[in-house]
Structure formats: structure tokens, C-alpha cells
């Protein structure tokens, strides 16, 4: 329509659909960001992949090409067990957060007006607080001088503080669920929000019971949100470092802590690189499998753009 009014077609780049081309040249617009990401995002990763085949000695890390590091990652009981334990903890955390979050997400999707705005905002606020702090808060709750011990002593249930509340796998679960549960709540909520109320109305009019409406309409339609939440929580949990370090003690350490110690304590960069590459490989395999149902770019937008 606008084209007919245009008296200088040569100056203007028309698109087949009648619109005009967006301003700027894609090459120049993309270059700064792409160069940054290639240089500081991809190149360091490539370097790490290369270094995972090197060998570290007490004299430093020297270029080599050996599979020794990977052999050690897989063969050594310690590292293999840590990997399986971490996968198990991440899996359990994911399952727990689904069950904890779903009812809340469902309730939020049914609220209206100011009430909804308030409660949804309250789900957001903790996102805006550092996870280091959100892991730390459990120390003065579970510790020897913590809230629970103090309360139990005041009530006369126990005489001396109990120690087993902290520094074990249970504390790690609690911490991980606390820190990551909102990464589940939000995508589920967003996918429930998108369900057209007319569908539920129609089902009700046709005589469906609330239970079967939930099972056969709501649940399947919220699947993208659940999936996106699961991927995020799982990925965050398998690479956890802060929570197990603060709350896990010796028995609660996870793969992230094993990796970190190669760089912070042992100075075995080559082996640490191999451990890191292993973790990245697991992440990529998981994303590849889940890409059957949800694209990577949708995971981080809560399945919202689907």
C-alpha cells in the first residue's frame, strides 16, 4: 500500500511483503557482539578443550596429547562416584522442585487483579537476591547456634545442640531446593497463564470433572513450562558449587567442588579441564535430548515464546 505512494523507489529497499528492510546492515550490527562472544566465549572454551589433553605436573601445565586425564575422570572411583552422586542429587532436586512448585504456580495462574500482581511479585523478589546469600541463610538456621537448635533447646526437647542438621547431603538438598525452586515455579506459571480459559470453560460445560480437566487439559498444556523448569533446575544443580560448599561438609560435596579444587587447591589445570569438559558434555547431551521437545532458546524464556 505504501509503495504506490512512493515516488522514489530506487532509494528504498522494498521487501516482498510490502514492508521495508530494518535499518542498518546486519554485518556491522552483529559484528561487535559476535566478536566479543567468539573471543571471550568460544575461544576460551576451545582452549580448555585443548588443555584437557595436556598434562599438569608440579612444574606446570605442558602441551601434550594424551587421554590420561579423561581415563582418570572415568576410571577413578572417586571421580566417577562423585559424578553419579551429583547427577542423583540434581535429579532429586529437580523432581522435588516440580512437586513443590506446581501447586503454587497453579494457584498463581488462577488469581486475579492486585492479588495476583502481589503474589507473582513475591515469587520474583528472591530472584533479585544473590544465591550466595540464599545459601548462607541456612547456616544460622541449621547450625549449632541456629534457629532450630535454639528453639528445640528452649522447648526442652534437647539439652545440647544437635550437629547432624548441617554438613550432610540432606542440607545440600534443602539448600538447592531453596535456591532453585523459583526457576521451576516461574516457567510453570507462565505456561499455565497461557492456557485459554475458554478451553476449561468448554470442558466444564461438557460435564468434565475438575480432576479430569486438570489431568487432560491443564497438565498437558503446562508441559513446556515444566520441561523448561526441569532443564534449568537440573543444569543449575549439577554445576552447584556454593550450596554444597557451605552446607554439604565432606559428605555433601558435589562435582562443582571437585572441579573447583583442581584450580583453587591442587593446581592441576589439565585434569580440571578434563573434568570441566566432561560436565559440559553432559549438559550438551541433556540439551540435545530435550531439544526434541523444547528448543534451547525457549528454555531460558520459560517456554514463553513457543
Amino acid at each position: 500500500m505504501t509503495t504506490t505512494f512512493h515516488n522514489n523507489p530506487g532509494k528504498r529497499k522494498s521487501l516482498p511483503d510490502g514492508g521495508v528492510k530494518p535499518i542498518g546492515r546486519p554485518f556491522w550490527l552483529l559484528s561487535p557482539g559476535v566478536i566479543w562472544l567468539l573471543l571471550f566465549g568460544l575461544a576460551p572454551l576451545a582452549f580448555m578443550l585443548m588443555m584437557s589433553f595436556w598434562t599438569s605436573t608440579i612444574f606446570g601445565t605442558k602441551p601434550d596429547f594424551s587421554f590420561d586425564n579423561y581415563a582418570r575422570v572415568i576410571v577413578t572411583d572417586l571421580y566417577r562416584d562423585q559424578l553419579f552422586k551429583t547427577l542423583r542429587i540434581a535429579f532429586m532436586t529437580t523432581v522435588l522442585t516440580v512437586f513443590i512448585s506446581y501447586p503454587v504456580a497453579y494457584l498463581l495462574s488462577r488469581l486475579k487483579g492486585m492479588q495476583k500482581a502481589l503474589f507473582v511479585l513475591m515469587v520474583f523478589l528472591p530472584f533479585w537476591t544473590s544465591y550466595v546469600i540464599r545459601a548462607f541463610v541456612w547456616l544460622p538456621i541449621l547450625g549449632r547456634n541456629g534457629a532450630i537448635n535454639n528453639m528445640l533447646q528452649a522447648l526442652g526437647v534437647i539439652d545440647t545442640p544437635i550437629d547432624w542438621l548441617l554438613y550432610n547431603e540432606g542440607a545440600v538438598f534443602l539448600g538447592l531446593v531453596y535456591v532453585y525452586t523459583l526457576f521451576m515455579t516461574l516457567p510453570i506459571y507462565l505456561s499455565l497463564e497461557k492456557i485459554d480459559p475458554a478451553l476449561i470453560e468448554a470442558a466444564t460445560d461438557l460435564g468434565a470433572k475438575p480432576g479430569s480437566i486438570f489431568r487432560r487439559i491443564v497438565l498437558p498444556l503446562s508441559w513446556p513450562g515444566v520441561l523448561s523448569g526441569c532443564i534449568m533446575v537440573f543444569l543449575l544443580s549439577i554445576s552447584a558449587f556454593v550450596t554444597p560448599q557451605l552446607l554439604g561438609g565432606a559428605s555433601g560435596i558435589m562435582y562443582g567442588n571437585v572441579i573447583a579444587s583442581q584450580f583453587l587447591a591442587n593446581n592441576n589445570w589439565a585434569f580440571g579441564s578434563a573434568l570441566s569438559i566432561t560436565l559440559i558434555a553432559i549438559v550438551l547431551v541433556l540439551l540435545l535430548i530435550s531439544s526434541r521437545w523444547i528448543g534451547v532458546q525457549h528454555v531460558f524464556t520459560g517456554g514463553r515464546n513457543r
Binding site: F40, P44, L279
Partner: protein, 295 residues
């Protein structure tokens, strides 16, 4: 995750006006059934929000506890831990470092993300590859995002410090979020305005600065503020490349690991207030942005 913020802004609009009609139409029997579920849900939600906020409120309480121990019993009200926080030069240094890096990395990431988002309005070959490249920093586990820069810069001979390695780590981390927040703003933008400007003979630069930019400005400000808050709270990548400089989460971590210092709760409250404040302001701008562009 911050980009999800947009989701709620959108959903706050009263979109289901015919909801009441729907309720009155459903039979009385289902209504009473619903009520039972609803009560149970509300009780559950109460427990959930207590779980979410209880520990945080407890930290606020403990920040005023007149005791050398981070914990209970509560020995009386004091503000001395806040005095300790504000009179400690290391803490103030790390606070300034965090504010500085947060400001700079938010600026760089927002500019890069804006250019990328402008580029993404075009069709070009390899678009999905570029998108994956943008997503790399959030796909890679956080701990590796720091380590990978440690060895890369370690071998390139770049010394770890605030304005080199930490800045790069933060821009890497923030950039994908900035892009994912900004792109929908530029995508939902009414192209007819741009077209009109073009028809009237405006040059691309003029169109950008006088038409596009003013319209998406709230979205850009929101992106920058969310980016700032992400950078301000960043810990896991920073700890590996921080060298001798400290950001506030790194300083906080040091105080936990070394001695569980008594001023930790006060410091936690300060960190929470700053990052919530910047995100909340960002949120307000995002709300405005979603009104000015129609996504």
C-alpha cells in the same frame, strides 16, 4: 531469568474480562468442589511463601542481633553491625568495585545486545548459529564460565583483576540475558513509524536516534538495570578471576568461609537492598516498555 520479568508485566493486564461469566455458568456442585481444592492450595501456598521468605526475614532480624555469633539467641537490638559494615575500608572498597563493574558491564552488555537485537531484525544466513553463540554463556555451567577465563587469561599473560578478567566474565554472563530481554522489545516495535521516517527521507542514523531509540528507551534502561543487578550479585564466575580485587559477593564469601563473621547478616541485607532496588526500578521501566511497544 530476569527476562521472565516481562512475563508477569504482560500478565498483570486484566485480560480475562469474561471470567466472572465463566464462574457463574459452571454448576454449583463444581463450585463447592473447587472451594475445597482452593483452601488446600492456599494453605500450601502459605507454607511455600513462609519457606521462601522466612529465612530472609530471619537474616534481617539477625542483622540487628547484639551478639558476636551469627545465630541465636537474640541478645538485643543493635545497629553496630551496620556501623562495622560501613566503617570497614575493605567492605567499602568491594562495594565500590561491585558498583563500578556492575555499571560498566551493564553498559557494555546492553550496547552489544542492542546491536545484536537490531541485527536480528534482519534475515541473514546462520541466524540460529549466532543465537546459539549468544546463549553459550548461559548454557555453560557457571563454575566453568569462571574457570575457562582463568586458564585462558592465565595463559595469555593477562593478570586477573577487576577491570580486565572480572569485567569480561561479567559481560559474558550478562550479555545473553540483555539480548533476550531487549530482542522482544525491538521485535514488537511498530515498524510503520520507521517506514514513515524513511519515506520522509530520514537517514538510518536519524531513524535510529530520533524514532527507534526514544520508543525503546524504557526497554533499554530496564535491560541495563537488570544487567547491573545480575552483575552485582555474580559470584561463581568472579571468584576464579578476581585476583586481589574483591567484589562484594566475593568479600561476603570470604567472610563466611574464614570465620562466619558477625557482620555477615548486615552485609547480606545491604546486598539484598541494592540488588532489589535496581531490579525493582528496572521492573518499572519494563512495565513502561511493554506499554510503549506492543508485544
Amino acid at each position: 531469568m530476569y527476562l521472565l520479568g516481562e512475563g508477569i508485566v504482560k500478565n498483570m493486564a486484566p485480560k480475562n474480562v469474561n471470567h466472572k461469566k465463566h464462574l457463574s455458568r459452571s454448576s454449583l456442585k463444581t463450585k463447592t468442589q473447587y472451594r475445597g481444592y482452593k483452601t488446600a492450595l492456599w494453605i500450601y501456598a502459605g507454607a511455600f511463601y513462609t519457606f521462601l521468605y522466612g529465612p530472609l526475614l530471619m537474616i534481617v532480624l539477625l542483622s540487628f542481633n547484639d551478639s558476636e555469633i551469627v545465630g541465636f539467641p537474640f541478645r538485643g537490638f543493635t545497629v553496630r553491625w551496620y556501623e562495622v559494615v560501613f566503617s570497614s575500608p575493605e567492605l567499602l572498597d568491594s562495594l565500590l568495585n561491585s558498583l563500578g563493574v556492575g555499571f560498566l558491564s551493564a553498559t557494555i552488555a546492553t550496547i552489544l545486545a542492542l546491536c545484536l537485537a537490531m541485527g536480528f531484525r534482519h534475515d541473514f544466513r546462520g541466524k540460529s548459529i549466532v543465537l546459539y553463540l549468544i546463549l553459550v554463556p548461559i548454557i555453560i555451567p557457571g563454575i566453568i564460565g569462571g574457570i575457562v577465563l582463568l586458564i585462558f587469561f592465565g595463559f595469555s599473560g593477562v593478570r586477573s583483576s577487576l577491570w580486565t578478567t572480572v569485567l569480561v566474565a561479567h559481560v559474558n554472563w550478562v550479555l545473553p540475558f540483555a539480548f533476550l530481554t531487549l530482542f522482544p522489545r525491538l521485535h514488537g516495535f511498530d515498524r510503520a513509524l520507521e517506514e514513515a521516517a524513511m519515506d520522509l527521507g530520514a537517514k538510518p542514523f536519524q531513524i535510529f536516534f530520533r524514532v527507534v531509540f526514544p520508543i525503546i528507551r524504557p526497554g533499554i534502561i530496564a535491560t541495563a538495570l537488570f544487567s547491573f543487578s545480575l552483575s552485582f550479585d555474580e559470584f561463581i564466575r568472579t571468584i576464579f578471576v578476581t585476583g586481589y580485587d574483591r567484589t562484594i559477593p566475593v568479600q561476603f564469601w570470604g567472610l563466611i568461609v574464614d570465620e562466619l563473621a558477625p557482620q555477615l547478616p548486615a552485609m547480606a541485607v545491604l546486598i539484598i537492598v541494592i540488588s532489589i532496588f535496581s531490579s525493582a526500578v528496572g521492573f518499572v521501566f519494563m512495565h513502561r516498555a511493554s506499554r510503549s511497544t506492543k508485544t
